[in-house]
């Protein structure tokens, strides 16, 4: 075992997850591949969404993979950063909007 939880080389082993459950693994990869195909959204738009979500999920593997994917698709770093801000805005907005719960509770409890 490596003495750290995340190892960049493990990303290359992602495909190996089918080894311990072939059917489910293959189903997942079929689904995954299909999702990223050109559709009503272009593959490039999907790649940017994936990049933003990779950040909100804070998954180092996904950030690694989708940064490279975006570069391959000719996405500029300004566009990539804007996508990350969209993720960050939703993430912080989602935190902040819960403030209304706190306010409701305070209003209910206080005289």
């Amino acid at each position: 075992m490596a003495n750290n939880y995340y190892d960049p080389a493990d990303l290359r082993k992602f495909g190996n997850i089918t080894q311990w459950s072939e059917e489910l693994g293959n189903k997942f990869f079929d689904y995954y591949g299909k999702v990223f195909e050109e559709g009503a959204l272009t593959a490039r738009e999907k790649s940017l969404i994936a990049l933003a979500v990779s950040h909100t999920e804070q998954c180092p593997y996904c950030i690694d993979a989708y940064t490279k994917d975006a570069l391959q698709r000719g996405v500029t770093k300004e566009q990539m950063m804007e996508a990350v801000h969209v993720g960050a805005a939703i993430k912080s907005g989602a935190t902040l909007v819960h403030g209304t719960m706190m306010m409701n509770k305070v209003n209910k409890l206080e005289m």
Partner: protein
């Protein structure tokens, strides 16, 4: 991120100026210890070893390594300081070959081929030899580099040359980072000049194609969607038109290899290439229909092998003994750089090789 270099590896006496050192790296490390399969091993799996040429279609002539630019990724290690230039005498021998070849395409490259002092004389004569498609690989900025080159668009038009030009991105930042300060603006002006004489217009027989290659340690995206992006951006921002975009993979040799090693991307890049290996691309790799001739008249399977000093494995290795039927009966010399030609949809000087 690395700073733009102003000099070739040769001038800097960098160890990678030596092709043998490059081959040592490509054959060693992760390929020597079996972590990744060698190119020979992987093509053997689909019975494609040894790689053999099909019918000769393209004669690619490198008229010299001198260039007005010093692009970071250059597989030629070209630059203003390179003195290897094809002489008129060698050009005359090439003209004989062009007259008698079975190939339908002539492809002039460099460096900046226009910097060869006999370039125009050579183009004029070669254009009379009856090849169907006559390509000149022009880096665009050369047209703006010096007054004596400003009329190149008219010159190309006069001889019905098919212009293939490199354009790393449709934005200034990405272009200048790869090729040097000011390259984007100069390239845009040059493209507008080519458009003005009729190059690249829809339906025009004056062909203008662009070459895109990634600006770093990643593979090119899908050629068709990159072409769409390039077309709409260049049209919207500068009213520029062109015909096709060729997406080309950077091969891990010369200055790009130097960059990969210096930026600690080498192993990762080789993994990317091997993971993207597409056995279907093998039968259409560039060396299957091309012969590459160097400035000093030697023969190679491709421009990449030329830069690695890997001459054709044939009795005939120089234009002095040129013989197409003997040449066509050869095994192609390969090493791990060949993975660059078979990644994804494959890559050649004509872009993707699978449809």
């Amino acid at each position: 991120m690395t700073k733009l270099k102003q000099q070739s590896l040769h001038k800097r006496e960098n160890q990678l100026a030596n092709p043998n050192r490059q081959l040592e790296i490509l054959n060693g490390g992760i390929f020597e210890n079996g972590e990744l399969p060698t190119f020979a091993k992987i093509i053997t799996q689909t019975n494609q070893f040894p790689l053999r040429p099909k019918k000769l279609e393209i004669l690619q002539i490198n008229v010299g390594y001198m260039c007005n630019q010093v692009c970071e990724h250059c597989h030629v290690d070209a630059g203003p300081d390179r003195k290897e230039i094809m002489t008129w005498e060698t050009m005359q021998k090439c003209l004989e070959i062009i007259k008698n070849t079975g190939a339908h395409t002539l492809d002039l490259t460099g460096g900046a081929p226009e910097m060869n002092p006999n370039f125009r004389r050579f183009v004029e004569k070669a254009s009379q030899a009856g090849v169907k498609d006559f390509i000149v690989r022009s880096n665009l900025t050369i047209i703006r580099a010096n007054k004596k080159y400003h009329d190149l668009p008219q010159f190309f038009k006069k001889y019905n040359v098919h212009v293939v030009s490199s354009m790393p991105h449709w934005t200034r930042g990405k272009t200048d980072k790869q090729r040097g300060e000011g390259v984007f603006d100069m390239s845009i002006t040059a493209l507008q000049q080519l458009n003005a004489v009729g190059y690249g217009m829809p339906g025009s027989t004056l062909k203008l194609d662009l070459v895109y290659n990634p600006n770093g340690a990643y593979l090119p995206g899908d050629q068709a969607s990159m072409e769409k992006e390039f077309k709409s951006a260049l049209k919207a921002d500068f009213n520029i038109k062109f015909h096709n975009l060729f997406a080309i993979t950077n091969l891990p040799i010369s200055r790009f290899l130097d960059y990969l090693i210096a930026s600690e991307n080498y192993e990762d890049y080789m993994y990317q290439l091997v993971e993207a290996y597409n056995p279907k691309a093998v039968k259409n790799v560039m060396c299957s229909n091309t012969i590459s001739i160097s400035w000093d008249g030697y023969l190679y399977d491709c421009d990449f092998n030329q830069m690695l000093g890997l001459k054709v494995a044939s009795k005939v290795t120089h234009i002095n003994q040129y013989n197409e039927s003997i040449l066509n009966n050869r095994d192609i010399v390969i090493s791990q750089h060949c993975y660059g030609c078979t990644a994804g949809a494959g890559s050649s000087c004509q872009g993707e090789v699978t449809t």
